[in-house]
Symmetry: C2
Subunit: 305 residues, 2 copies
């Protein structure tokens, strides 16, 4: 089954789909997060709604306000020869729910933000809340999968990097200073519109192997990236188990698995697709999940009006 959220006057309404069609879900089931939290009871009662004409809807993020969006950094095996030093486990940052954007909605970029490029990614939707999840039971906590475009502003990333002397204990009650670098992702990963997601959450039973899916990124009809989720360094089960050692994974949380990176024969790197300058339409396709497509609009704002 597939679940999505479309905009209505009072916020949103859930739509569902399977091989037979697309229909409205009875509002008594609440939103997609409510349905995920009550899946065992809700699932048998989701059918029977009136058909939906998808041509007329405005999409919202399938889970409109997840508790958290955890993004795995540098998680493509193709990154290996670019990394001089780094961890042997998944490293992550958090994207705010306010950065999420529905399928088909315009990404509004300010020229003052500098370059912004797409990052096509498989996203996991957590089903069952858990902590200390063993790797062999990790998939039991996965509700399903969707598509996220983890937009990134590399000029902001550079600006929000500090070279500084971190304070550490000297072991004797005093402190010593250690030359360090830290970078902060609030703006460069979290600005409004930097998280197009959807259109559908596809339940786990429809995706027997999330690491055998072709993933493509297309800009204005030109194939930029052609990769496969097999190339992710840390797989879904390992990421879910690792994260849950540190933080509670809650129903509806999103885990973005890291960028598909492999340039297509005809395309270049995603880093060359500067959406701020190029505008156009950016699409991410994942086999068995669907296509996430968003137009880009450039909108200048005078800072500090």
């Amino acid at each position: 089954m597939r679940l999505g959220t479309v905009r209505t006057a009072d916020g949103g309404r859930v739509v569902a789909a399977d091989g037979t069609g697309v229909w409205w879900v009875d509002p008594r089931h609440g939103n997609v997060l409510d349905i995920i939290e009550n899946w065992a009871a809700a699932q048998p009662e989701l059918g029977g709604g009136a058909p939906v004409d998808l041509a007329t809807v405005t999409w919202r993020p399938p889970v409109t306000r997840p508790g958290k969006v955890i993004c795995v950094a540098l998680n493509n095996s193709a990154n290996k020869d670019r990394i001089m030093s780094g961890p042997d486990h998944p490293a992550t940052f958090i994207k705010p729910s306010s950065s999420l954007l529905g399928h088909g909605c315009a990404i509004e970029l300010d020229p003052a933000w500098g370059r912004v490029h797409p990052e096509p990614e498989l996203a996991v939707v957590i089903g069952t809340t858990g902590r200390h999840i063993p790797v062999e039971r990790a998939y039991d906590h996965v509700f399903g999968y969707t598509i996220i475009n983890d937009l990134t502003a590399p000029i902001m990333r550079g600006e929000d990097t500090f070279h500084y002397r971190a304070i550490h204990p000297d072991g004797d009650g005093g402190v010593r200073y250690v030359d360090s670098w830290v970078s902060y992702s609030g703006r460069y990963k979290g600005s409004d519109g930097f998280g197009p997601i959807g259109p559908w959450v596809v339940t786990r039973d429809e995706i027997p192997d999330p690491h055998a899916l072709a993933i493509r990124c297309i800009h204005d009809g030109r194939l930029v990236t052609e990769d496969n989720t097999a190339n992710l360094r840390f797989h879904v089960d390992a990421v879910v188990a690792f994260l849950s050692e540190y933080m509670t994974l809650e129903a509806g949380d999103i885990v973005a698995m890291g960028t598909a990176l492999k340039a297509s024969g005809s395309g270049g790197a995603v880093q060359n697709v500067d959406l701020t300058v190029l505008g156009g339409v950016i699409e991410v396709e994942i086999e068995g999940i669907g296509t996430l497509s968003n137009p880009v609009r450039t909108v200048a704002h005078e800072v500090g009006r």
Copy 2:
């Protein structure tokens, strides 16, 4: 007025306080986020509830599930001589709502996480949703203030730092590689229990100047930090205005303003307070807002059970 949330069998219930006492708020007003969103209508009707004995309650975070918790990094003027290079604007990261913890609740730390130290901070609670907020109207968007202890695991921070060759366009359709450092805060700022917050949100009218407040951090009765919010480099209005150029600040969002840093005469640096080893009780006091106090428990978990 002050608003807080205490644990009940069905999740939580709102308590309010002023100079006359502490009382239960009628559940028809919803949770603190609902009250903030409907402040003009709700405020006149919040009084009249039965008195609350605070000695018997278990606190939850005042806003239990904010849309986002934005934390300003390295925002103390005392940091100046430690920063070799960095931005001239607020740099931020996002803490997940699952990391938040109520006043009095135990911070559970795993010895495998290495050193964890406190960071005493003033936190702003957003009242009116906005984007592109002019600095001179920034305080109109502030609902009130609370206290957050922005717990930090510096060993994890080091582990989750990459030295790598970032891909940038070469200006000619190809790419060039730029030697870069990136660090990711998912674990070191976002693990469960890393965000003690509360007990109260104090409405803005009670804090005429949020940059004239004494702030102290106390570990097991020993004064560690004695600072003043006057020493924050970027002030509340500048931070709210700057952030809103990039992201919608939503009602209930939390903005943690950055660590008070100045060591007390008798105390050392917060970085020397390794809660993982020391345990004990960690407190943050802010003048006019209150005291946030949490015991620490060390709990070992076998990874990957």
